[in-house]
Symmetry: C2
C-alpha cells in the first residue's frame, strides 16, 4: 500500500485516478476502478442530459460501494450544454468528488464547495494550477505534454512540469499524462506529485467501453504513434496516429482554415472512433504512454500490478542503490 | 552515496554526468565536475585542433586526478573536421571514457574499444539506442524532448523515452534532458536509468566558462522560455527564447529556406552567444530545465546538494509512503 496526501484526502486505497474521458468514463469502467481501490471519474458530458447522468451515477453505485467522482469539463461554446444543470445533478446525486477541467470553472467550484464536494482541477500549466488553487479547489491534476487529448500549447513534459508546479502549488497534485506503470508512479512521487492520473492506460483494460480493435491498436502502437492536431488553432489535441490524423495534420500545415479539416476530424469528439473496431476508421485520442502498454488486463489486475511494481522499485531498486 | 551500474562501470562517486557541450566542456568545468565526484566530458571539437585537444586534456589532468572523459560528436559535413585525428589525440592522451554523439559512430567505436576506451553513446530514440548497443558501446545516454540542443524529431519526453528504452536496452543508461535536481535523479532511477546527464544545469555553475549574464538569464528564465529552431529542416535545436530566436522561428514558419535565417542563427554554434553577457545578443542553447534552476552554485555545491536531496527523497519521502 502506498499512502499519500491524495489517498488521505479522497479516502481511496491507491494514489491512482482515472480522470474524465469523454465516451469512456461510464459506470462500467468507473465502478471497476473504484472496486480496484483507485479513484474513477464518470464524464458528465458523455451523458446526453443531466437526468441521464443521474441515472448513470446510480448505475455505478449499484456496482460499487467505494467512492468515485464525476468530471465536468467546461468548453467555450456558442451553444453550451446546460453546465449548471449537470452540476446540480452531480450535487443532488450525492457525489462528493468532482474533477473540473477547461475554462473559468470558478462558478462551478464555488457551488461544489458550498455543497461539501471536493474538487480536483485539471490543468496543463503552472500558472493555471496557481489560479485554480486561488479559486479554492482541493487538489490539482497537472497534465503534461505526453497526454492524450488536450496538452495545452506550452509543450512542457511531466519531468519538468510536475516539479515546477510542486515548487509553487501547496495543495496536493496528481501527475497526469504519460503514466501507465509502477515506474511512472514512483517517478511522479519523486517529482513532487501525490499520485498519478491515467487515461490511455485505463482505455486498454477489459472494462473500458471501447472496441477491442482499438485496445489492440493501443497495445500495438509505440510511443511515436501519436499526432498533434489543431496546433495552428491553438487548441492542440493529441490523437493516435493513423491515416486520417496524418491527412488532417498535413492539411493543417498547408495553413488551411479549420473548416478544411473539420469533416476529417469529427471523430475526435465522437464515439465512433472508439467504438468502431478499425483503428483506421476514425480519429481517436491516445497518449504517448501507448508505447509502454503491452496488454489488456482487467482494471484490478492493472492497479494491483502497478502498485506492487512501485513498491518493489522503492523497497528494492532504490533502497539498494543507497550505499 | 548512490551506487548504480553507472558508478561501477565508470569508477565515479555519483551517478551524474556532464556530457559534451560545445564551447562549454573545457578543462575548468570538467575538472570541477571530476573533483565533485561526477563524470565530466571535455568537448573535442571545442578545441581548434587535435593538438589543442591534447593540451586541454593535459590542462584538465593538472587540475584533477579523478576520471574524466571526452565527447566526440560526429556531424555530417561537406568539409568535416579531422575526426580520426581528434580520436587519435583522445586515445594517445590516455583518456579511458568517451561520449560519442551524432551520425554513424561505428568506426570510432571500434577504434576506441580496441584501445580499451569505454564508450557512452548519446541518442534521442529507442531504435538508435538499440543500434548503438549492437555497435558495441558500453552505455547509452538517452536524450529526451526537454533537452537543450538537439532533441531529435520524435518529441518523446524522458518520462516515456527512458522506460521505453529501458525495456529494450540491456547496457546501462543515463537519462538526459530535463534533469537538474535530486527529484529528477530519483525519477530517472525509478524509470530505469542508472544515472543522469545534465547540461544546462552545469552551465549555471560558477566554473562554467560562460558569461555571468547568461548564467543569470538561465536563472531568470522559466520552463517555457525555450524555442525549437530548424524543425522544418529536420535538424531541430532547442535554444533559449529571445528576440532573435523568435524571429528565426517566425521566418522558418513562413516556409523560407535555411539561408533566410542563417545570418540570425550563426550564434547557435558559435561561442558568441555564451560569452557575451547580454542574453539578447545572440542565440544560445538552453533546455527546459532552466525553469527549475534558481541559483549559480559551485559544481561541488550542486552535486552534493543534488545527491543529498535524492537520498532524502528515497529514504524519507518515498519510504514513508509505503504503509
Amino acid at each position: 500500500m502506498i499512502r499519500t496526501r491524495f489517498t488521505e484526502m479522497f479516502g481511496v486505497q491507491h494514489p491512482i485516478a482515472q480522470g474524465g474521458m469523454q465516451w469512456v468514463g461510464t459506470a462500467e469502467l468507473v465502478s471497476a476502478v473504484a472496486n480496484a481501490g483507485a479513484l474513477g471519474f464518470m464524464t458528465a458530458l458523455t451523458q446526453p442530459t443531466p437526468e441521464a447522468l443521474s441515472k448513470e451515477i446510480q448505475r455505478c453505485r449499484d456496482m460499487t460501494d467505494k467512492p468515485f467522482g464525476v468530471n465536468l469539463t467546461i468548453l467555450p461554446s456558442i451553444t453550451p450544454p446546460p453546465y449548471a444543470e449537470y452540476r446540480q445533478a452531480i450535487i443532488e446525486s450525492g457525489i462528493k468528488i468532482v474533477e473540473t477541467a477547461g475554462y473559468k470553472p470558478q462558478e462551478h467550484v464555488d457551488e461544489f464547495k458550498k455543497h461539501g464536494v471536493k474538487v480536483i482541477h485539471k490543468c496543463t500549466a503552472v500558472r493555471h494550477a496557481l489560479s485554480a488553487e486561488r479559486m479554492g479547489v482541493d487538489a490539482i491534476s497537472i497534465d503534461g505534454f505526453e497526454c492524450a487529448g488536450h496538452p495545452g500549447e506550452d509543450d512542457i513534459p511531466g519531468l519538468i512540469l510536475i516539479p515546477a508546479a510542486a515548487d509553487k502549488v501547496k495543495i496536493p497534485m496528481l501527475a497526469s499524462g504519460g503514466f501507465g506503470d509502477g515506474r511512472g508512479l514512483v517517478a511522479a512521487l519523486a517529482l513532487g506529485a501525490e499520485g498519478i492520473n491515467m487515461g490511455t492506460r485505463f482505455c486498454a483494460t477489459q472494462e473500458a467501453p471501447i472496441h477491442d480493435g482499438i485496445k489492440q491498436a493501443i497495445v500495438a502502437n509505440d510511443e511515436r504513434a501519436t499526432e498533434l492536431l489543431f496546433r495552428s488553432y491553438r487548441n492542440t489535441a493529441r490523437v493516435a496516429k493513423n491515416k486520417i490524423a496524418m491527412e488532417a495534420v498535413s492539411i493543417e500545415r498547408e495553413g488551411k482554415p479549420f473548416e478544411a479539416i473539420a469533416h476529417l476530424v469529427k471523430g475526435v469528439r465522437g464515439r465512433e472512433g472508439l467504438q468502431n473496431g478499425d483503428p483506421e476508421h476514425g480519429i481517436w485520442t491516445a497518449g504517448m504512454i501507448q508505447g509502454l502498454i503491452h496488454d489488456v488486463p482487467t482494471v484490478k489486475q492493472l492497479v494491483d500490478r502497478l502498485v506492487a511494481e512501485a513498491e518493489k522499485i522503492i523497497d528494492d531498486r532504490l533502497k539498494s542503490m543507497i550505499a
